[in-house]
Symmetry: C2
Subunit: 368 residues, 2 copies
Amino acid sequence: MDVKGGPSGAQGRRATLREVAAELGVSPATVSNAYNRPDQLSAGLRERVFEAAERLGYAGPDPLARGLRRRRAGAIGVLYEDRLSHAFADPAEVLFLRGFSVATEEAGLGLLLLSGAPGAERDPEMIRGAVVDGFVVYSMAEDDPLVGAALGRRVPAVTVDQPEIEGLPFVGIDDRSAAREAAEHLVGLGHRRFGVVSFALAPDVRSGLADRSRQGAATYGVTSSRLRGYAEALAEGGISWDDVPVYECPMSLPEVGEDATEALLAREPRPTAILALSDQLAFGVVEAAEGMGLSVPGDLSVVGFDDVPEAARATPPLTTVRQPHEEKGLRAGRALVARLREEEVSSPSLLPTRLVVRGSTAAPRSRA
Amino acid sequence: MDVKGGPSGAQGRRATLREVAAELGVSPATVSNAYNRPDQLSAGLRERVFEAAERLGYAGPDPLARGLRRRRAGAIGVLYEDRLSHAFADPAEVLFLRGFSVATEEAGLGLLLLSGAPGAERDPEMIRGAVVDGFVVYSMAEDDPLVGAALGRRVPAVTVDQPEIEGLPFVGIDDRSAAREAAEHLVGLGHRRFGVVSFALAPDVRSGLADRSRQGAATYGVTSSRLRGYAEALAEGGISWDDVPVYECPMSLPEVGEDATEALLAREPRPTAILALSDQLAFGVVEAAEGMGLSVPGDLSVVGFDDVPEAARATPPLTTVRQPHEEKGLRAGRALVARLREEEVSSPSLLPTRLVVRGSTAAPRSRA
DNA sequence: CTGAAAGCGCTTACAG
DNA sequence: CTGAAAGCGCTTACAG
């Protein structure tokens, strides 16, 4: 059976407020009041308005027209770096959205997901045309043109997990010290040979080893802060950052972490410990190591980042940095709602992190 | 530091198209054309328009005004039964959204998430006021007023995993026969005493055993179809459905499945097999059984539904019904986009399911 | 308690 | 290649 809309179908022409008014012989203002200000007309007349609306198939004021008049859209946009399908693939981001959705529901606002990559290309038109009252700018590169497009809209915005932007509230964690703690743990266990499985450093995505200059030019704030944190801890342990290979991954997915790990473990001397910028990548690290016949943590220690629920259930359970993703979403959402109401927001809002030591890390085998 | 918007802040008054036109001494139509129909003016003039816009802080045509004029919102709404935070908590729904997002991106549309429960109460106003060009109605009860509100909008809509609605494309699975297959598997293994851990039967959420009449009055299509499928398989095995306790859960979460299971396993004779309507619930079933000192599948066989990624990794790996969640989202999204374009859509679109037998089911211990 | 009027910011035939 | 005019569907002071 084929479904199409006929003239009498669900898509038949909609009635307008004006028509309802005409039907009743009252003014449009009265019909509008029936919906928006019940105290402005008698209960009886209001009832008759709704009856006429029902009869004519009028579903209430057109959202677009009402929005134009009132100057608000009734929704908040989440500006996401990548294709949305990647957001849904990462448990950490889903948790963020989960917390965020609590805030939008509290405020009675819709949650509009906006990807930077419709039709396979990044398109600022999507941002310029989004019917929203504000944006949360989530983990974008600081020079991303989509961020510029969002700011150009001159609506309230909040930044999350990315470089701070003057005048905008920020919600996130102290990525640098959280990363430092992760690396200190491995140094404390006695590791001397490291590898890093990193997120992208900049939007011109590359896959492979990132040299010092590329690291220095990183525009993703989270990535560069974490690398700096790792470097600091290793330096304190007397390990030169120049000797630490950093493999840049285009996406935070286990499969990608596997490829990175294979490259890292093929090097001489072979690393005894790998720092991954996310649990998703770390799962791939473990996978790859085992595929190469290495045991974790016997032959290789692995530390992730995020503490997604799967981390504790993994085999071995993953040592990782816990951060409160859901709380982050909730705070970002509430901060944005507050800005919409022209309330002040204290910023930055820094959430606590904590190293969770589990079974994927151990002292290196002594084999000097 | 506190952040607030000042007159010169990012929220300063926005310029309008008319002002840009005045600045340049051209008509508003020309400025509009610069953005919408580049072929309608010279490249040089177009450049000057953009320069003036930049200077005045004009970010392009206001989405609300443009939307009103063009009669389209540029977004698709997903109407979700419950609080959005529950959608994000269920891997099956996240996979659905993931597939759906691919379709909205293809079409260059935003994805607006609409919960039925803003501010803790179900509110049709949210639906009436949503700035969208169409809805996907996902797993709602057939008599839900929010569905009525969405249909009242007279925009294209698609139904998914719920009772079909005349004139609307439907995407889903054959829940009844999929459930039948799950139950047949247990009957085939020799089980005779069953329990069912079910979703809610109707929106007036109850927690506890659902008698026959409540089952008969179920308004959630998926729930009632699956129960019917189970009943059919058991009947063929000579087991009376009246002897099978059906525990109704308000939400599809492991914790809730635990409570249900404790109630079910306290009954005499104790069930040797439990059918759960989702993997999330099934995880709770296993948890509860183990908490009571029972082994799975030694003392209790458990079958889930969905085959979320966690099912294969669970201990023991979960026997369950696989359904293609992501594909379902993709198809629903594409069907809606097609309706938006007034193309025909073949309906119903039924996706394949398959019983995946893993380690959570076995023959009952003989202890007659 | 009700209505006439203005206008939210834009786009689209159409005429020149 | 450019502009004048009409209008998308509604809401909001304001006057009565």
